[in-house]
């Protein structure tokens, strides 16, 4: 089966448009008949990733490939990068500005949520150069979300 590939550009300027990639991805996955729970987990991962890219990355690229069993989501930005990835993975750890927090974002749950809902996750980052998050999700009916 030739995999399905979806590509998105995430606009770094606006919170109001963040979530568009996740909405479109969800629609595409529903229309090909992907498992409902897989779609839910993937949407959360993508949504959190989009928000992160707006807060920290100045926007970026998102891609999704799905072969019917395995889904890979790759989020790439050219933002300021993460100095301490281990800290960034802790629930509640956040470097978001007060402005962002006032909008209800930046609670330090983005990366932890992505890790929770993805089956595999790797974060690569270089300060000043940008961040790449790779997530793999499997269509597994046994998994309890």
């Amino acid at each position: 089966m030739e995999p399905l590939t979806l590509r998105y550009t995430v606009d770094g300027d606006s919170f109001t448009t963040a979530g568009e990639a996740s909405t479109d991805m969800k629609r595409s996955l529903k229309r090909i008949g992907a498992d409902a729970d897989l779609i839910r987990r993937a949407s959360i991962c993508m949504y959190e990733g989009e928000i992160n890219m707006v807060i920290h990355g100045g926007g970026g690229q998102a891609s999704v490939t799905f072969d019917g069993q395995k889904m890979e989501i790759v989020l790439t930005d050219r933002g300021k990068g993460i100095p301490d990835i281990e800290a960034a993975m802790r629930e509640g750890f956040s470097t978001a500005t007060q402005e962002v927090r006032d909008l209800g974002f930046g609670a330090g749950m983005g990366l932890p949520n992505m890790k929770r809902y993805a089956d595999e996750m790797v974060v690569e980052s270089k300060v000043g150069a940008g961040t790449t998050v790779r997530m793999v999700l499997y269509d597994d009916p046994q998994r309890n979300a």
């Binding site: 089966m1 030739e2 995999p3 399905l4 590939t5 996740s22 909405t23 969800k26 595409s28 529903k30 229309r31 090909i32 008949g33 992907a34 409902a36 839910r40 949407s43 959360i44 949504y47 799905f66 019917g68």
Partner: protein, 431 residues
């Protein structure tokens, strides 16, 4: 086979594309110069009826002559009907008008609505107190708008567990009205004709083909527009008026927000208009609606007052409903289970597939890719000249084998140029 209550007057349709652009579920195409409804995508909302400048779209309702088929007839007026009349200070005038028109009895849908509000309050509490499956059943999604229920069955099968499994107010009203009349007249139930005055095609369809029930409980759906025209002269002859049997809560169901307000809590939202409903359903799917226990959804702007068979614009009728509610008791009907009475769906709701590109995932993925490739070749103007609402929908139709790439006038031009024909191509129908 799905049934619908919207039909096309072929002679009046000019193939102008007004309806295809306004259809919120992209369920209409212009093919061979006429608007064609795609049955599996249509939710019977009636937006096309409003959109058509030539009045070629019609709502199919039952004929009033059908009243003669029965020995005893009952009218079921919705509260939205009360908002249609100017200078109405007592909804009893509408009830009397219906009796003057020859109905033997009138049973207000608002009565049943108040009973259902009472049930819904218990339902929400029950679901909230059951930790198991809580996420799959809360927020409760209203089932009173059949267009929205159909939308969920088609596009949001994952949310079926959220749907309130109680019957719609008109259905409960029909069941109770018939049972009361059987007791009163001694007639057999099938000699009693129960007619609902519908504000929209979705409810007309639901009257004949209800979801969650083995068969119809309403004998016919009469057009609210026609009811209005017949009532105007009939109401003038009214002198003493029957009492209204519902309170401001039941009457409030006519307006978007009324069903939610009747729950007497704060944790609800009321959403009207299909595009808004779709976006909120997406949010529920994503678990983004926090602290909301009930979601009222209605296909029409302002709720049932905005139905395409309503006569008055919904903003005016909303003000009239508000005026009628003044000095009314809060509610006159409450939860009192009647033994053996059906008040919930008798059978589980089944998803309606059709939105999925193909039941075979590999085939669906291949189609998805081909659609994307073709869409990239189309101009992206969404001009609808091809008969599809957007370039993307044309691409889908082509890949499904229901249209041709040359239906796009721009592509036709290019493809003919590529074929070595430098003359501007004649305007003609593809295929």
């Amino acid at each position: 086979m799905m049934t619908h209550s919207v039909t096309l007057d072929n002679a009046k349709c000019t193939g102008c594309t007004a309806c295809i652009k306004r259809c919120p579920t992209e369920a209409i195409r212009v093919r061979n110069g006429k608007a064609v409804i795609l049955s599996e995508a249509c939710v019977d909302c009636g937006e096309c009826v409003r959109a058509c400048p030539y009045h070629a779209k019609k709502v199919v309702c039952d004929a009033w002559e059908r009243l003669a088929e029965f020995d005893y007839t009952i009218a079921l007026p919705e509260p939205s009907l009360y908002g249609q009349f100017r200078n109405l200070d007592d909804a009893g005038a509408v009830l009397q008008g219906l009796l003057n028109l020859g109905f033997d009895e009138v049973y207000e849908v608002a009565r049943a609505a108040e009973v259902l509000s009472d049930h819904a309050r218990r339902e929400i509490q029950l679901r909230a107190e059951t930790p198991e499956g809580r996420a799959e059943s809360l927020p409760v999604i209203s089932s009173s708008c059949p267009a929205c229920v159909r939308l969920i069955l088609q596009r949001f099968p994952k949310l079926i567990g959220h749907i309130d499994t109680h019957l719609a107010p008109a259905e409960l009203a029909a069941i109770r009205a018939r049972a009361d009349a059987v007791r009163k007249t001694g007639l057999s139930p099938d000699r009693i004709g129960v007619f609902f005055l519908t504000p929209c095609p979705a409810k007309a369809t639901a009257a004949h083909h209800p979801v969650g029930l083995a068969g119809p409980v309403i004998d016919g759906a009469l057009s609210m527009t026609e009811a209005y025209l017949r009532l105007l002269p009939a109401m003038k002859r009214a002198d003493t008026l029957p009492s209204v049997t519902a309170g401001l809560m039941g009457i409030g169901w006519a307006v978007s927000g009324g069903e939610g307000k009747a729950l007497l809590g704060e944790r609800y939202i009321s959403v009207d208009g299909i595009p808004n409903v779709i976006s909120v359903l997406e949010d529920i799917e994503d678990g983004k609606l926090e602290n909301i226990e009930f979601v009222e959804v209605g296909a029409c702007t302002q709720g049932c007052l905005g139905g395409c068979l309503a006569v008055e614009n919904p903003f005016v009728s909303k003000a009239r409903i508000r005026a009628l509610q003044k000095y009314m008791p809060v509610s006159q009907n409450r939860y009192e289970p009647r033994p053996g009475e059906i008040i919930r769906y008798a059978q589980p709701l089944e998803p309606m597939p059709g939105w999925q590109l193909n039941t075979d995932m590999a085939a669906a993925m291949a189609m998805h890719r081909q659609i994307g490739e073709l869409a990239a070749r189309l101009p992206g103007l969404d001009c609808s000249s091809c008969g599809a609402p957007r370039c993307r929908t044309l691409a889908e139709d082509v890949i499904r084998g229901e249209a041709s790439e040359r239906d796009c006038i721009f592509r036709l031009h290019q493809l003919r140029g590529e074929d070595g024909d430098s003359l501007p191509p004649p305007l003609r129908k593809a295929k």
